[in-house]
């Protein structure tokens, strides 16, 4: 009989191998799904996973998609380590875009190098303010931060829609629900001549590096990890739980807000109701795929970016629905979580014990 046996120590090799295996299994399951749908599986998977690497434009698009995922994912990973479940990054992303974008529109006639830093500050403040609500309610009343941050996401999306149809609407836009296109000095600097990749990517890399140092080398990171692993031990050690909750939510809210502003002032160049593209939710997958490790999250951000760009290519070349991307992302997280079992446990083959069975001749 095969049974599970807990490993004395989680296997580090398995922990880092599982994301690779999960990607491979997702590809296999995706091919099965396509076969069921009557789509040529080899061609579809080929387009989804290979076409993003085919030309310079696609590569820069990978950076465009990976930037918000990495920024948000790094922030979320801190909270997830501590058992603080900020599921509302999507809302914080939207508010960041809104506050950052509002600054860009307020100074529409003035240009200057100070504009982007000011927009960034506004975006971070906006994201933090949105995350402060679940932080306050959890630390003050013990309210579940998962549900509160989620409900606020719907509120944020509606607020964006109200703003771009109201006060922030383009005055010359024929009543379309969208803002003016941002002025040049309110747009993110481009990384390359070609494509839409912008300087936000460098900020995302810096955030990942900072997060990595914080988690691995700083006392705050130690407190976060201990609180996640053993809240009781953390309390005995005298860590202030409330301060860690606030810290995690402020960092993840601020980074999500910044990601929102980068998106609005980067590839989108204005505020539109369709700005929330689900990055806040997808970043949750990125955080787990990256093993809640900021460096891993950079890699995971690119893996998930491939599913976006590849999904778009499959949409154009094979008329596959856009939802294919979400299905792949969901499956990826399933396989990854399922295989975590292998890190903490190992399978042991055991023969049924027969000693206490009396055999009669």
């Amino acid at each position: 009989m095969i049974r599970l046996e807990r490993r004395p120590q989680p296997s580090r090799a398995v922990v880092w191998m599982t994301p690779v295996l999960a990607v491979l299994l997702t590809v296999a399951a995706g091919m099965a799904l396509f076969a069921i749908m009557g789509v040529d599986p080899v061609r579809a998977v080929g387009i989804i996973f290979l076409s993003p690497f085919s030309d310079a434009y696609s590569l820069s698009e990978l950076i465009v998609k990976a930037t918000p995922l990495i920024l948000i994912g790094v922030g979320l990973s801190l909270g997830f380590r501590a058992g603080v479940w900020n599921i509302g990054a999507e809302g914080q992303f939207v508010i960041g875009a809104l506050t950052g974008g509002a600054v860009a529109l307020a100074f529409y006639d003035i240009s200057g190098v100070w504009l982007l830093p000011l927009m960034s500050l506004a975006a971070v403040a906006g994201g933090m303010a949105w995350a402060a609500v679940p932080a306050f309610l959890r630390t003050r009343f013990g309210t579940n931060e998962i549900l509160v941050s989620l409900m606020l996401t719907y509120v944020a999306i509606l607020l964006l829609s109200a703003m771009v149809t109201g006060p922030l609407r383009d005055p010359d836009g024929f009543n379309f629900p969208e803002s003016r296109i941002f002025h040049d000095s309110a747009l993110m600097p481009q990384l390359f001549e070609q494509g839409r990749a912008n300087a936000g990517f460098l900020v995302a890399l810096a955030a990942a590096a900072t997060g990595w140092i914080l988690l691995g080398r700083h006392v705050v990171g130690f407190q976060i990890r201990l609180m996640g692993q053993s809240p009781r031990a953390a309390r005995f050690a005298g860590f202030r739980e409330k301060r860690i909750i606030w810290f995690c939510l402020m960092v993840s809210g601020g980074l999500a807000g910044l990601a929102g502003m980068f998106e609005a002032a980067g590839p989108v160049e204005q505020l539109v109701p369709a700005l929330p593209a689900g990055y806040g939710f997808t970043a949750i997958i990125v955080a787990f795929l990256g093993r809640l490790n900021p460096i891993g999250i950079v890699l995971a951000g690119f893996v998930i970016a491939v599913t976006y760009i590849g999904g778009e290519a499959a949409q154009i070349q094979m008329q596959l629905p856009a939802a294919v991307t979400r299905v792949f992302q969901g499956m990826l997280l399933f396989f990854l979580l399922g295989m975590d079992l292998l890190a903490g446990f190992r399978f042991r083959l055991r023969l049924p014990r027969r000693a206490n069975v009396v055999e009669t001749p």
Partner: protein, 306 residues
């Protein structure tokens, strides 16, 4: 008077899908399983119910298969969290993302189509009564099913041995295991039931209330159902109350909008979500009473070491 009846009836219609989903999640959580994938299970139920009804012409087949599809989604969650011991919070989110994607994929050719709505049952005399008629005796069958299931769940949890075992498993899985109760099997059954109920809630949306399919049509109702379970402090009767309260907020918002009040519709649409937050704060407030009533093993992974 007529307006009041209209509002009350609207409230009942808005509450019904929430009630289905909340009841299912309530049973799962009573068994100690926190499934955040309600939204995903619901939306898969909605698309399945719609497709089957559109193809077969039978509402009954649509609703039954929606429940079945929800059950499969619930079992997928059960497999992940109970057999493969995956983190329940993360798996629930994966289930929602997967469900939203899968439903959009399945319903691709059905966007914008519609099916005939589920007919209300017309009773000879009772349905004609002035106020009580439209209020109580003139609804489609799924409405009555939701009320019946509330009573059944309450009866099951508090008056049967199986219900007692389920609560024991949710309260303390190690003790339940030591007594010899099959923790994993009870939990699998509970999440499967939760999935079936979420599937029914989804089907109610797509074949009874607004008989059409559109992507992401559950619009966060699965998450509100989760909040209702907390509001109900894990009791079926209070889940009914909670669902009607939330249904009421939705309807009042529609009526204010309809009355031509000069305020952007988006602000009114925020009300159900804001109300959810307010209610969550009120019940968790101060004494932390609701937190204390949560099943003891809620959300914790069970692994039998012997």
């Amino acid at each position: 008077m007529e307006l009041a009846v209209d509002i009350l009836v609207g409230m009942m219609l808005a509450a019904t899908p929430l009630l289905f989903a909340a009841l299912g999640e309530l049973v799962a959580e009573r068994a100690g399983v926190l499934n955040l994938g309600v939204e995903g299970m619901m939306v898969v139920g909605a698309v399945t119910g719609f497709i089957v009804t559109a193809e077969s012409g039978s509402h009954f087949a649509g609703i039954a298969l929606a429940a079945f599809a929800g059950t499969l989604m619930g079992l997928l969650f059960g497999l992940m969290t109970q057999i493969l011991l995956a983190n329940q919070v993360a798996t629930g989110l994966a289930l929602t993302i997967f469900g939203l994607g899968l439903s959009a994929l399945m319903g691709q050719g059905y966007s914008g189509l519609s099916v005939p709505p589920l007919e209300a049952i017309r009773l000879p005399v009772l349905s004609e009564l002035p106020v009580l008629g439209p209020l109580l005796f003139h609804h489609e069958p799924m409405f009555y099913l939701s009320i019946l299931l509330t009573a059944l769940v309450a009866w099951f949890l508090y008056a049967t041995r199986a219900g007692m075992i389920l609560r024991a498993v949710g309260e303390n899985h190690h003790a339940a295991h030591a007594i010899g109760f099959p923790v994993v099997r009870v939990r699998l059954a509970a999440v499967a039931f939760g999935g079936a109920m979420a599937g029914l809630g989804g089907a109610y949306l797509s074949v009874a209330r607004t008989p059409l399919w559109s992507e992401d049509m559950t619009a966060g109702r699965g998450w509100i159902a989760l909040a209702i379970v907390v509001f109900a402090s894990w009791r079926p009767g209070r889940a009914l109350l909670g669902a009607y309260l939330f249904g009421g907020v939705t309807i009042v918002q529609l009526h204010v909008q309809g009355a031509g009040v000069d305020i952007a519709s988006q602000y009114l649409s925020m009300l159900p979500y804001l109300a959810t937050i307010v209610v969550l704060v009120l019940i968790s407030g101060g004494r932390g009473a609701a937190v204390l009533r949560a099943p003891g093993s809620l959300g914790r992974t069970f692994y039998a070491s012997s």
